[in-house]
Symmetry: C2
Subunit: 414 residues, 2 copies
């Protein structure tokens, strides 16, 4: 337990979410309050900003604007997808980082991201310790994919899930409006873990969701899928399907890959397009039914206007608690969530060893996934429903969201 | 002016919107109050429902559920895209309709839709009059395309415009998050009129919108477009483009058609996919920059959670006023909006001859469109901003919208 005095630095990393800035607001506003924290910096584009000594001076921001970050989507100080060099082969990037930390007297380091980012954070934490440089390192969780290990859930997931469920309910109304047969295939993010696609079951639980739901945890069989689509069409005239972008066959082939070969034979070139589009094309070829593919794309991770209040508050508090813990002397930990009960929803913040969250993926339990694309069990609904409660969004000016506008003043290079 | 006593019938027609059910709520709830209206029917899938004597009995619905229609997206009683036979060649469908109207004593007919639907409504109105059958026929406007003639704007437009502007502001945050070059091309509905794409300028007016905006009113030149994209990339590293699905070259070719020929030469098959996707592919081929296509698809016309209060109220009142006017003896008219002033926003409801709205398209004034994809003039902003004000949405149950659930009890066939 060291009572460190020095600068605090936050980096945002990986794919942004609706609430990653809420965590940033939590870190910045709490850090600005702490006597032991002399400066508050934001790394411009995460690790890259550190390696380039490129920081924003958060002390020069209006605290009211920092508070607006709570409801501003995406990563306000810039994100990055950057894999540091393997420290065992070449530790030059780590040495450079240490040099920068020393130069700016950075004694508190916060990294906000998902699996890969926690891996980076973990490695930095271990390196700094080994180097004898006193710095409290804290991970702040974030991912719409909800696949961070050891925590009940991660900030960003609930808001994206609320977007998925709400939008699917609205699409259900639109996609069933004509008396002609129609297949609508909706693609939802999640390369390996189907948590976000599972949120389609929340719409189903209201009787206004997709007919079929496919997660990447279960091997995908096109012929079987097609039988189910035809069956739904025969019964109802319409079929709405929610698929994870990451569904793959038992041989590990993604859908665009699966039909790329077919396409190459027939037309001499590789198939382009996403999972839903390729599925829609294949269903269209085999039926006379109108088929439409819809991709939620970046919308599902930036729709701050539809954020869950639970999510925004938990994201904000994660940032705040990371700072408080670090100032108390904690290091090498990630803030995580431990669920006490679902109904009523009770959760407590816990501090998890960084290495637990680093680079491991928590997938959807197989026993929560119903067979034949039917959706999810009640266990999933009970798990997810408390997370999407309430609303928290930017106030409207001229009928449009008033997002934070930061001055983004650079820290002079030393 | 005839004081008719009999049944009222509403049909919903064409592409649904976030607020077409608000108009239905206005019609149903007002009709249920009127002494001269003996029955209140909803035509199942518009004209098709009439031809098949397929009606819902709205008197059997709970009025509280009918009120929830105000915030329920899409067409609750089913929509249709159906072109009646040319009356000059074959009037059998019109005769059938007359027969059904007589059988069910339908004396008030309301049709809620866009250009094509108003054309149908106009023809029915003229036919019934010529046939000497007393029935007051009223059009209720609806279209996200905002291209109905003679009215300042149409219900459905404002909510879709609010969706477009809000979502583009959110995408702006997401699409600028990395320090690597990126082009994001967003496709917005509107086959011939660019009103909805113009709403991108509302996001631009907040400094958080696309860099380039292309409407179908201006012939599209790919080479010129590509020069502009490259210029923005050189200046800012990122480029966000909003395009109408209906942009076409000066020779009248849509974008997928334009590059279909190229594709056929090279790969022997026709290009699939939408305007944004094809543009993204072409930009991708010519640059090393990451390019992403996003289609708002059905989301933009069903996002009731983001509806404008002004729009919801105007849609509801349009339905209500159509009934009130019809009961007063008005026929052969469409409810329209006449703007008194924009700031403060003042509008009055007017009754326009149905033939004025029938089948004519009101496009965006060319003088409102800035050259070189720069967006729109202040005139457009002044026009559109009052329309997207306020919020009106379904209350949340379990964090999800509680949409109307109708019993949908069929009227027994006579």
């Amino acid at each position: 337990m060291k009572n460190l005095v020095g600068a605090a630095l936050l980096g945002q990393s990986g794919g942004p979410t609706s609430v990653i800035n809420a965590s940033a607001a939590g870190v910045f506003l709490e850090a600005l309050k702490q006597e032991n924290i002399t400066e508050v910096y934001g790394a411009v584009h995460g690790i890259k900003g550190i390696l380039h000594e490129d920081f924003y001076d958060m002390k020069q921001e209006d605290p009211a604007e920092l508070m607006l970050l709570k409801n501003t989507p995406s990563s306000a100080i810039g994100s990055v997808r950057y894999k540091m060099k393997n420290i065992k082969v070449d530790d030059s990037e780590y040495q450079r980082l240490l040099e920068v930390f020393k130069k700016y007297n950075i004694r508190y380091f916060f990294y906000n991201g998902g699996n890969d980012s926690m891996d980076t954070c973990n490695k930095i934490s271990k390196f700094l310790k080994k180097s004898g440089y006193d710095c409290n390192v804290m991970g702040v969780p974030k991912t719409i994919d909800n696949d961070l290990n050891a925590t009940d859930h991660s900030p960003g997931y609930a808001s994206a899930a609320k977007y998925v469920a709400t939008t699917l309910m609205e699409l259900y109304h639109d996609a069933t409006v004509y008396d002609t047969p129609q297949v609508t295939i909706v693609e939802i993010m999640g390369r390996n873990a189907g948590w976000l696609t599972a949120a389609a079951a929340l719409a189903q639980s209201k009787g206004q969701g997709p007919d079929l739901v496919y997660l990447p945890e279960i091997p995908f069989d096109f012929d079987d899928f097609f039988v189910h689509v035809q069956r739904v069409i025969a019964q109802k005239g319409k079929c709405i399907v929610a698929v994870s972008e990451g569904i793959k066959t038992k041989d590990g082939k993604y859908i665009p890959e699966l039909f790329a070969d077919l396409k190459k034979d027939a037309f001499g070139h590789a198939q382009l397009g996403g999972t839903a589009q390729v599925l829609a094309e294949e269903v269209g070829k085999r039926t006379k039914v109108k088929v439409r593919a819809i991709e939620f794309s970046l919308l599902q991770r930036s729709a701050a206007h539809l954020a869950s209040k639970v999510d925004v508050e938990e994201a904000f508090n994660s940032g705040k608690k990371a700072v408080q813990a670090a100032v108390r002397g904690t290091t090498d930990k990630m803030v995580g969530f431990k669920r006490i009960s679902s109904n009523p929803y009770k959760m407590k913040y816990v501090l998890l060893p960084l290495k637990l969250a680093a680079n491991t993926e928590q997938k959807v339990p197989l026993e929560w996934i119903l067979p034949d694309g039917k959706g999810m069990t009640q266990d999933y609904i009970d798990y997810a429903l408390p997370l999407i409660q309430g609303e928290s969004k930017a106030k409207l000016v001229d009928g449009l969201p008033r997002f934070a506008k930061l001055k983004k003043i650079r820290v002079p290079k030393k």
